[in-house]
């Protein structure tokens, strides 16, 4: 079980819910659970190969899971998982 913070642009796919409690043991299981419960989230979180999109960052507390064990990062009831969209752009 962990608390998951949904970023503003993705809340339209979670019935406007900003915080969810998700039953899971790892970050990967959280993503799987979210995409099952809210299928429209899938294309915004995962690429066609099922990997985390490059424009999506996942934080466990203050740490980017890429600096931890990626999708295998374990979670517990006190873990706060933040889904953080990468914000970028440019003029051409």
């Amino acid at each position: 079980m962990a608390i998951v913070i949904i970023p503003t642009p993705l809340r339209k796919f979670t019935n406007q819910t900003a915080r969810l409690q998700v039953e899971a043991g790892t970050v990967g299981e959280i993503i799987e659970r979210l995409t099952l419960d809210f299928p429209e989230l899938k294309k915004h979180l995962l690429d066609p190969q099922g990997s985390l999109r490059s424009f999506v960052n996942i934080f466990a507390g203050d740490d980017d899971i890429r600096d931890l064990q990626k999708e295998k990062t374990p979670v517990n009831t006190s873990t706060v998982i933040s889904i953080v969209p990468a914000i970028a752009g440019g003029n051409h």
């Binding site: 913070i5 993705l10 915004h44 934080f59 980017d64 969209p85 990468a86 752009g89 003029n91």
Partner: protein, 145 residues
């Protein structure tokens, strides 16, 4: 339709001019009506963290983004989008803008040509992940809309 409080609009313009010829960026905050009309009442400037060429790219760190979301919660406002400037380019989103764009957010682009504000336009992704322009207007908050 997106309405922007003039003080916020002027702050964005000032930010774009100050940072020129680099790209500036920041967050848009406000409220949204049931009919989808948005009113921007606050903006927050943020550092362009893009390594290398800031003249044609911008990037916001994940930590700055998380703080910006928390700021919205603390002030009981919605984070409604992102603004950024296009130095010496029109206020039209690039393919790079589109690929990185998020659903729901308004993307306000300030075109700065040779150090002068040329044009400001706002865009949102549609359901096919293509940008559509949204009309915007400056409005005073005490004005009925």
């Amino acid at each position: 339709m997106i309405f922007i409080e003039p003080v916020s609009l002027n702050r964005m313009k000032t930010h774009a001019l100050l940072i020129f010829p680099d790209e500036c960026c920041g967050f848009l905050y406000g409220t949204e009506q049931n009919n989808g009309e948005r009113t921007i009442s606050e903006i927050r400037e943020v550092n362009n963290s893009k390594p290398g060429d800031k003249k044609r790219r911008f990037e916001i760190t994940a930590r700055d983004y998380m703080q910006a979301e928390q700021w919205a919660l603390d002030h009981n406002l919605l984070m409604l989008g992102i603004y950024h400037s296009h130095p010496n380019h029109p206020a039209i989103p690039s393919e790079h803008d589109r690929v990185a764009a998020q659903p729901y957010f308004s993307y306000l682009i300030i075109s700065v040509m040779q150090g002068r504000i040329e044009h400001i336009r706002s865009w949102r992704l549609n359901d096919k992940s293509q940008f559509e322009e949204e009309s915007f207007s400056p409005v005073h908050l005490n004005q009925s809309i």
